[in-house]
């Protein structure tokens, strides 16, 4: 899967009209795990560019002793690594100054999330790449999805492994192209068993830990989603800067930033509404806030305190935010929170039957629609009381 190009590809000899070299084009090969073939594909495309007559060099390559990868690199010019010594340890790192001096048209740089040894120009390799791009050199690079900063916690939850080498999401967002290298978990495990990824002694431990099928399936889903979101956001950005109606473009980015507000009260039944709201938030790819508008007055009774603690716990594991506001004007308090939080959806349970004068008042959903034009209000049905749903 590849994102559409925003601009026509520029040669590194192009200028931006000021006599300076324009920023290079940046292409990232994204994968779900080691061994899917990111580096191989990067080299393959690099060779294609070289055959087409472009000046291509390998800035940094991590072949991991994989025969197929090494063969793909054969014949391409390599900028030698530099040796860096820190506290009696010598490591080999990418030679950024040498690449800038060499100034090729295209530079292939593996593993953009890598952390450099101390004492080099930058702490992280993606920062080195920024310098290369700024010099007008096109860059092909590789990375695994678990290194993305925003996915770090999710990956830790999935695999139990906390990835230390991360890179900001903005790096991927700024790439001109993101190419997803996809492989089914079964095929990747087969490659692993055939010794194409790690040496023999590392295969069994890897299969028993990170390379379990459920981990890989989940990471694959994350990678596919990331690539899809990249395609979507670039399409929207393209429309915004292009020929489509400005108002449509202005609305488009908002459409991907849904924020749901579920109105709750601390009693056991409220959890059902929270669960439904969370599922809706997941489907919309949005954030979820929970709001209890507490009437001003005496201490909260013990039962409510317990239910509130349970709601707080639920909110925390779901990644939602529980807000408690004290007010005797329910619609005004909800509207104020919705404006402050940028809410796009309000979810509420069906109201208790009104009594006395309350019957002549405008119902809460209508009041909210008056106060918050443009915000959807959804009343969540109590499915437990739906007839004919009983299962044996």
């Amino acid at each position: 899967m590849s994102t559409p190009r925003l601009n026509q590809r520029t040669s590194s000899t192009d200028t931006d009209g000021t006599g300076m070299r324009a920023r290079g084009q940046y292409k990232v090969f994204l994968g779900m795990a080691a061994g899917v073939g990111k580096t191989y594909r990067m080299l393959q495309e690099g060779r294609g560019e070289a055959y087409a007559g472009r000046e291509v060099v390998i800035g940094y390559l991590e072949p991991h002793d994989r025969v197929e990868t090494t063969l793909q690199a054969k014949g391409l010019e390599v900028v030698p690594r530099r040796r860096v010594t820190y506290r009696d340890t010598t490591v080999e790192e990418m030679d950024l100054p040498a690449i800038l001096r060499r100034a090729p048209e295209l530079c292939l740089i593996d593993e953009l999330a890598h952390t450099n040894a101390l004492g080099l120009e930058h702490e992280k390799r993606y920062e080195d790449i920024e310098d290369v791009l700024a010099a007008g050199i096109d860059v092909f690079s590789t990375v695994n999805v678990q290194h993305l900063e925003s996915l770090n916690d999710r990956v830790a939850e999935l695999t139990g492994i906390h990835v230390r080498e991360t890179f900001p999401d903005s790096v991927l967002a700024s790439a001109d192209e993101v190419v997803l290298i996809d492989l089914t978990p079964q095929a990747l495990i087969q490659r692993m068993r055939e010794g194409k990824i790690y040496p023999q002694q590392q295969i069994e431990p890897a299969l028993n830990n990170f390379f379990r099928i459920e981990n890989l399936a989940a990471l694959r889903e994350v990678a596919l989603r990331e690539a899809a979101e990249d395609v979507g956001s670039k399409r929207l950005a393209g429309e915004a800067s292009g020929t489509r109606d400005d108002s449509l473009a202005a609305d488009a980015p908002q459409a991907v930033g849904e924020r749901l507000l579920a109105l709750v009260e601390p009693y056991p039944g409220a959890q059902r509404l929270v669960r439904r709201a969370w599922r809706s938030a997941q489907r919309l790819g949005g954030e979820l806030d929970l709001l209890w508008v507490r009437p001003p007055g005496p201490k909260i009774p013990r039962d409510q305190m317990r239910a509130l603690a349970a709601l707080r716990q639920l909110a925390s594991v779901l990644g939602a935010t529980l807000l408690v506001e004290e007010s005797d004007d329910l619609p005004a308090a909800i509207a104020a929170v919705a404006r402050r939080r940028g809410t796009t959806y309000i979810l509420m349970g069906s109201a208790r039957p009104a009594r006395g004068l309350a019957r002549v008042r405008t119902p809460l959903p209508q009041r909210l629609m008056q106060l918050l034009p443009g915000v959807d209000v959804r009343i969540v049905a109590d499915r437990a009381s739906r007839k004919g749903d009983d299962k044996p």
Partner: protein
């Protein structure tokens, strides 16, 4: 009948109507107050995407007999590298639909539900934290033949030794194939 008497009757009628309107909910029926609020609490912890129907039915039977509320608790394991209050959406994606299915089924049988989500570093830790925060009269746990699923035998021993509540452990039975799973959720969830 004099005009004054007619006016008085009309005013009285309006007053009676307003009073009835104020006190009675729409449909003319007060909610029944005959049913006492449950006082006993039965904990039904679970870890995966399904629970044994036997365990659930045992909880429902006891809840009805003892006028108790069932507290299904989804145990979530938070990796040590993350704070205990961190979100665990992937585990929730499995646990929440099951919680919904349990709640729907129990309510259809007239049993009150008060669900919990208990995060911990392990299943045992999640149960321990839950027991520190709340009191329960009974705990119902169904075991499985799968050593990798749910609470281990060590966890069960720990529960029996440490928990100040009646613990009912349902052993796996060969014919116990009936499960309650997320697929049992009624309607769109």
């Amino acid at each position: 009948m004099s005009t004054a008497a007619v006016v008085a009757l009309v005013v009285a009628g309006i007053c009676v109507g307003l009073a009835a309107g104020y006190w009675l909910p729409p449909h003319g029926l007060r909610p029944s107050r005959n049913r006492p609020r449950p006082v006993r609490r039965i904990l039904l912890p679970f870890t995966g995407q399904e629970i044994s129907r036997r365990a659930f039915e045992a909880a429902v039977r006891l809840a009805k007999a003892e006028n108790a509320v069932i507290m299904p608790a989804f145990l979530a394991v938070v990796p040590k590298s993350r704070p205990l209050d961190a979100a665990v959406p992937l585990q929730c994606a499995k646990g929440m639909p099951l919680l919904e299915a349990i709640e729907q089924r129990a309510e259809s049988q007239g049993v009150e539900i008060d669900a919990r989500v208990a995060p911990g570093r392990s299943y045992r830790d999640a149960v321990r934290q839950l027991l520190e925060e709340e009191q329960f009269d009974r705990i119902i746990i169904s075991t499985t033949d799968n050593p990798r699923a749910g609470l281990s035998s060590d966890d069960l021993r720990w529960l029996l030794e440490r928990v100040p509540a009646e613990v009912m452990i349902l052993r796996p039975a060969p014919d116990d194939t009936r499960r309650i799973s997320a697929a049992g959720v009624s309607g769109h969830f």
